[in-house]
C-alpha cells in the first residue's frame, strides 16, 4: 500500500505541510480564508530542534495499536487506511496512549483526529506531500514488513 514517508535530510522546517494539511481538512475553498488568523490543528506535525526537523503523521501501521485498543470501535482499517469515525469517538484518548509515533491528537470537537491520507477530503491525495517544496515527504509503495 502507498504510504507517506519522510526524509528528514530534505526537510526545511518550513511547516508548509502543516498548513496544507489544515487547509485540506478545513472544508474551505480558499487557503487564505481557511488559515488567516486561526490557530491551525494539522494532522501532520513538524518536530524541530537545532537544524534537525522532520514531519510526523500516522504510519498506517499493519498492526495498529490504536485500532486494537480503541474502546469504542471508532478507529478502523479501511483498505489499509487507519480511519476515524468521529461520531463514534468519545475522546477517551486511549489511542493517544497507544500510538508509538504520537500521531493521534485531540481536536476541537472532542473526538481525536489523525491523518487519513486525505481520503475523506476533496484532495484525494495527501496534501502535505503536494505542499512540500523539497520532497521531504513522499507518498509511495515501499513494501510491507512481514
Amino acid at each position: 500500500m502507498k504510504r507517506i514517508y519522510v526524509n528528514e535530510k530534505w526537510c526545511l522546517g518550513c511547516h508548509l505541510c502543516e498548513y496544507y494539511c489544515a487547509f485540506a481538512n478545513s472544508g474551505e475553498d480558499n487557503m487564505a480564508k481557511a488559515l488567516k488568523d486561526v490557530v491551525i490543528h494539522p494532522r501532520i506535525r513538524i518536530e524541530q530542534q537545532g537544524n534537525v526537523s522532520f514531519a510526523v503523521s500516522c504510519r498506517h501501521c499493519q498492526e495498529p495499536l490504536c485500532v486494537k485498543g480503541c474502546i469504542s470501535g471508532a478507529l478502523t482499517v479501511q483498505n489499509g487506511v487507519i480511519s476515524i469515525d468521529s461520531e463514534k469517538c468519545v475522546g477517551c484518548y486511549t489511542c493517544i496512549l497507544s500510538c508509538p509515533y504520537g500521531a493521534i491528537m485531540p481536536s476541537d470537537t472532542g473526538a481525536v483526529q489523525k491523518c487519513e491520507l486525505c481520503t475523506k477530503n476533496k484532495e484525494g491525495q495527501p496534501a502535505c506531500v503536494k505542499g512540500c517544496p523539497n520532497k521531504a515527504i513522499v507518498f509511495e509503495e515501499r513494501g510491507e514488513v512481514q
Partner: protein, 412 residues
C-alpha cells in the same frame, strides 16, 4: 472444519473473532453471551448516560458484524459449565454446544462487600454493563442524592456520567486517595480538587459501616443521606467456568503467551484471565479493554492454527478523563523519577535499569504513546536523548537511525 465457540461477546470475544478470521474464513463460530445485546463498548456506558454517545454509536462493531464474520450469536444465553473431555458447553437452558476450540472471555463481575443493613436499601445499583446503566438511569431524578461506594475508575466514570442529571454525588472510599490503582498522592489530589470543583464530595480513608434505607453511617461516624446507591468497590474475574472444569486458576485464569489455559483446546482472554506484566515481571489481571482485545486476537489466531505472535508485551495502561481533565498512565511506578508540575499539568516519569518503567501524565497528555512505547519495547534509555524525552514525548529524542526506520522504513 474447526468449530469455534466463544463465551462472552465483548472486547476479548470480538478480538478472537477477528483473530480467527485472519486465518480461517470458513470454520463456524458460535458466540454465547448472557447479555442480550449486540456487541457494545462496555466503557461507553458512562458516556451514554452523559449523552456523549447513544445505543447505536456505542456498538463496538457494526450491525453486520456477526453475519460478515460467519458468527452465530447466542445472546441472552448463559453457559453453565464446560466439559473439556466431551468438548461441549452446557447452557443453563440445558442446550449443549459442541466445539473444537473454545475461548472463555467471560470478563468480570462487581465485587459487593457484605455490609450491615445493605438488604434494606432498595435503590442500589452496580455500574458494569448496559443493563445496569439503563436501570440506574431510570432511577435518576434532578433531586437525587447519589452515594457512590468506590473512588476507582468505574465509580468516578459513573459520577461523571450522571453528574449533570442529579442533585448531589458523594463518593466514599477506603483508600486515602481517589484512583489509587493508577495515581500517586499528588496526582490524585489534583484530580480530586478538579472533581470537587465540579460538585463531587469525597469521604476518603472511610467506609460504610451500616446502611439504612436512605442513609449510610460511615466508620468515621458521619452520616450520608442518599436516594440512590451505586456500588463500585471493585471487580472479580469470572473464573468459575474454567475452575469447575479443572483448569488452573489463580487470581484470574492462568494462561500462556498464546492465551491457552491448562485445559486442552480451551483458551481464555480479557478480564477473566491473567496477563504477564512486563514492567513488574508478575502475573496479574489487567482489566483493560486494549488488553482484552489483544489477548482475544492472539487466542483467535492461535485457535485457527495461525502463526500468530505471542502476546508478551502486556503492561498496565490507562487513559481516562473527567470533565475535560485528561489522565494517561502506564507501567509501574518504581525506580528513580522525574517530576514536573505546573498548574493542572502533572508529569511523573519512573525509570530503572536504563528502562522507562512507568509514567503519570495529567492535563497535557499529548503524544503519550511515545512513552508507552518506550516501556512496551523496553528501549534502553542510553540509546535516546534523556533530556529531550523528559521534556516531552518526541521522536527527536531518538537516534537519527531509529528515526529513519520509524518514519521512512516499512510500517510496523
Amino acid at each position: 472444519m474447526t468449530r469455534y465457540a466463544i463465551i462472552g461477546n465483548s472486547a476479548a470475544a470480538v478480538g478472537c473473532v477477528e483473530g480467527i478470521r485472519q486465518v480461517d474464513r470458513q470454520g463456524p463460530i458460535t458466540v454465547i453471551s448472557d447479555e442480550p445485546h449486540h456487541t457494545y463498548s462496555r466503557p461507553l456506558i458512562s458516556y451514554l448516560l452523559e449523552g456523549k454517545t447513544d445505543r447505536v454509536r456505542m456498538q463496538y462493531r457494526g450491525a453486520d458484524f456477526y453475519e460478515k464474520n460467519g458468527v452465530t450469536p447466542l445472546l441472552g444465553k448463559r453457559a453453565a459449565s464446560i466439559d473439556p473431555e466431551k468438548k461441549t458447553i452446557i447452557l443453563t437452558s440445558g442446550e449443549k454446544i459442541p466445539y473444537d476450540k473454545l475461548l472463555v472471555a467471560a470478563g468480570s463481575r462487581p465485587f459487593l462487600p457484605p455490609t450491615e443493613g445493605q438488604e434494606t436499601v432498595t435503590k442500589v445499583f452496580t455500574f458494569m454493563n448496559l443493563d445496569s446503566a439503563l436501570a440506574l438511569e431510570q432511577a435518576l431524578t434532578p433531586e437525587s442524592r447519589v452515594l457512590i461506594v468506590g473512588a476507582g475508575l468505574i465509580g468516578l466514570k459513573c459520577a461523571e456520567g450522571i453528574a449533570h442529571r442529579v442533585n448531589t454525588i458523594t463518593v466514599v472510599d477506603m483508600a486515602d486517595r481517589i484512583l489509587p490503582s493508577i495515581l500517586d498522592e499528588a496526582g490524585s489530589k489534583l484530580v480530586q480538587t478538579h472533581l470537587e470543583e465540579k460538585g463531587l464530595t469525597f469521604h476518603l480513608s472511610d467506609c460504610v459501616a451500616k446502611f439504612e434505607p436512605d442513609a449510610a453511617t460511615l466508620k468515621s461516624g458521619q452520616r450520608v443521606p442518599f436516594d440512590i446507591l451505586v456500588m463500585a468497590v471493585g471487580v472479580r474475574p469470572n473464573t468459575s467456568l474454567i475452575a469447575d472444569a479443572g483448569g488452573q486458576v489463580r487470581r484470574g485464569v492462568v494462561t500462556d503467551e498464546f492465551c491457552r489455559t491448562s485445559l486442552p483446546d480451551v483458551y481464555a482472554a480479557g478480564d477473566c484471565a491473567q496477563s504477564f506484566d512486563i514492567t513488574t515481571g508478575q502475573e496479574r489481571v489487567l482489566a483493560l479493554l486494549p488488553n482484552a482485545y489483544m489477548q482475544g486476537e492472539t487466542a483467535g489466531i492461535h485457535m485457527a492454527g495461525g502463526e500468530g505472535k505471542p502476546y508478551d508485551r502486556a503492561i498496565p495502561m490507562n487513559a481516562i478523563g473527567f470533565f475535560g481533565l485528561h489522565i494517561i498512565t502506564a507501567g509501574s511506578y518504581q525506580g528513580e523519577e522525574v517530576l514536573m508540575q505546573k498548574g493542572n499539568t502533572y508529569k511523573r516519569l519512573f525509570y530503572q535499569d536504563d528502562r522507562l518503567k512507568g509514567y503519570i501524565l495529567i492535563g497535557n497528555v499529548e503524544r503519550a504513546g511515545i512513552y508507552t512505547s518506550l516501556i512496551r519495547e523496553q528501549t534502553p534509555l542510553s540509546s535516546i536523548d534523556f533530556d529531550l524525552i523528559c521534556e516531552k514525548p518526541q521522536l527527536m529524542a531518538f537516534s537519527k537511525r531509529a528515526r529513519a526506520k520509524a518514519l521512512s522504513g516499512a510500517a510496523g
